[in-house]
Amino acid sequence: MTTDNSGDVRLSGIGKTYGAFTAVHPLDLTVPQGSFFALLGASGCGKTTTLRMIAGLEEPTSGTVHLGDQDVTHLPPYKRPVNTVFQSYALFPHLDIFENVAFGLRRRGLKSVKKQVEDMLDLVQLGEQARKKPHQLSGGQQQRVAVARALINHPKVLLLDEPLGALDLKLRRQMQLELKRIQTEVGITFIHVTHDQEEAMTMADTVAVMNGGRVEQLGAPTDLYENPRTTFVANFLGTSNLIEAEVDTKSGDDIVLKAAGDKLVLPAARCGAPAPAGGKVLVGIRPEKIALAHADDAGGIPEGRNRLTGKIADASFIGVSTQYVIDSPACAELSVYVQNVERDARLVPGADVVLHWSPAHTFGLDAAQAIDAGTGEEVAA
């Protein structure tokens, strides 16, 4: 990769308060040059404020913003080598598509913009629409104009503020891939704000999950998904089953826990909380990692797997998988997703079952936090 770091974005202790309300608690964040970075969180979590502070549209209350080695904290937006794709695009309604895209170049005093604008419109496949006004285009086309208008300036960093929020699901999927392709092609740092966890995971190399003005966890999508460190991340990114359990013993690298009579094993390395004997820990497991066996077949389950007994409360068939809700003495309403490979006809509501999974897929969280954090917010799935 390149050693050029002029596209690095470094936030140091940056925070924003409005009167008594703290939108963003002082946070440190470094986005390396050329990466696709997503700020993910529910509305009001401070992600857009953070983005606007990088763009210069919002003055931080504390801290500094660096682009590469340049301190831009107090530069007005028009002096920053940063461009934004706004939510709902903010295209200039009185200018045609060509002039919208040429706007930034003309402001910087470039005379011959024709070639560049045409190339850029071709990149976003809108060459034919150059002389139309924004309101004559569809939502997806307007979105591409907004991207073209920002990208043509070759910014150090492109900021995207929920750019796909106004599109329907199918178009959104298509644009996600399109944006990813463009980012790979131009190699500019993208910082993408979204509330859609699937969007963040599909597109970004690194995701920062924000909640209540703080970054809860930062990492690659797979890392965040497999090793959530807080209940918010566990619940906000996909679905998690969180089971309250009591620490029984520690044996080697494993922690053995008790949950309503059943014994669960958790690798100590995957436990993000202190686990003194007798203390409480939240045991987490993703629904698709759990296998389901009818109670009559319990003997066939291999040794060494975590198991819980329960009763099927509800089953919904959704094509590729069947989603079960299972009530267990250890935890009510456990979710289990079973691939529809060989469907067991006995697994219907009311049936007694055994849930089992590999201890390696189990994670442990601090029981002191709210167990349902991150579930209340509707996540576009």
Binding site: A55, G56, L57, P76, P77, Y78, K79, V82, N83, T84, F86, S88, A90, L91, F92, P93, H94, F103, G104, R107, R108, R149, A150, N153
Partner: protein, 309 residues
């Protein structure tokens, strides 16, 4: 500028033959239009026709007027009173420009910067309407009086020497000069400039300003390239709402001016009410109307906002 309401589109044709056409509802839109049309006929069309016929009559007050299709009245009226026509247009144009220069910053302030003061400033803009137009114009007589504070201040700053030189004022006084009339017009029609400007500025999406800033436009460039072009509908309707009534106004010239500042409105008023020469008065009114219509048409075409007004 037309206040005619467009008739709602006729009901959509029945989608299939199975659905019988709804006969009862078909004329409903036209019934609903009736009061408006009646109003326009009685108060606009009929007076216009009556006035048109008056303008081609000849005769005298004693013998009565008869329609003789005497179109020469138009030419006679114009050749005699063209200086007043010209003056009206100049004064109205001057007042319109002043209204725009004063009104735009205020409308901008209310739309973007006033915050919680917005309603208060709006009330202050509209508040003068609670007092009669005549009383307010008379008050300007006091304000601009020869021994009043305005003349005193302008005199000590030697501004009046300049305006005397330009012919806007005469003999170190403001009252009874063109300046006083234009000031009066500006004052009286300012709200008609501010309100449409405000409406059109307020509709501009604030994110467009942010987007312009984000795309390397300085605040002044943002204003020139984004804010002002987007406020054109307001500028056009504001200037029309100021210019049209100002061109036909006679109260300001009557109260603040002199015989040297007579506008076409004053001439029409005198012809109708003092000399009682109805044909000439009617012909002058028609010429004024035609002139304004022509100017407005050209203006709207040139400003390219036909689809925005």
């Amino acid at each position: 500028m037309s206040t005619l309401t467009e008739a709602p589109p006729p009901l959509a044709p029945a989608e299939s033959a199975a659905e019988p056409p709804r006969k009862r509802g078909r004329f409903t839109p036209y019934w609903l239009l009736l009061p408006g049309i009646l109003w326009l006929v009685v108060f606009f069309a009929l007076p216009l026709v009556y006035q048109a016929s008056t303008s081609v009559q000849t005769g005298s007050l004693e013998e009565g007027y008869k329609v003789t299709w005497h179109f020469a009245t138009y030419w006679n009226a114009f050749s005699e009173y063209w200086p007043q026509f010209l003056r009206s247009i100049f004064y109205a144009a001057g007042a319109t420009v002043l209204c725009l220069l004063l009104g735009y910053p205020l409308a901008y302030l209310i739309a973007f910067r006033a915050g919680r003061w917005r309603n208060l400033i709006m009330i202050l803009v509209i508040a003068p309407f609670f007092t009669s137009f005549l009383i307010r114009t008379l008050a300007w007589k006091t304000i601009l009086a020869d021994n009043g504070p305005v003349v005193h201040a302008l005199n000590s700053l030697h501004v009046l020497d300049l305006t005397d030189f330009l012919g806007w004022t005469a003999g170190d006084r403001v009252l009874a000069t063109p300046l006083a009339v234009v000031c009066g017009l500006t004052y009286n029609f300012l709200p008609f400039m501010i309100l449409p400007l405000y409406t059109s500025l307020e509709r501009i999406d604030g994110r467009l300003h942010e987007a312009a800033g984000d795309l390397y436009a300085k605040p002044s460039t943002t204003f020139r390239k984004v804010t002002f072009p987007l406020s054109m509908p307001g500028v056009v309707s504001g200037t029309l709402l100021t210019f049209i009534p100002a061109a036909g106004d006679y109260v300001n010239s009557e109260l603040l001016g002199s015989t040297d500042t007579r506008m076409i409105g004053n001439v029409i008023q005198t012809q109708f009410l003092r000399i009682l020469d109805y044909p000439t008065a009617a012909a002058l009114s028609f010429i004024l109307m035609a002139a304004i219509l022509a100017m407005v048409t050209i203006y709207i075409r040139r400003s390219g906002t036909e689809d925005l007004v």
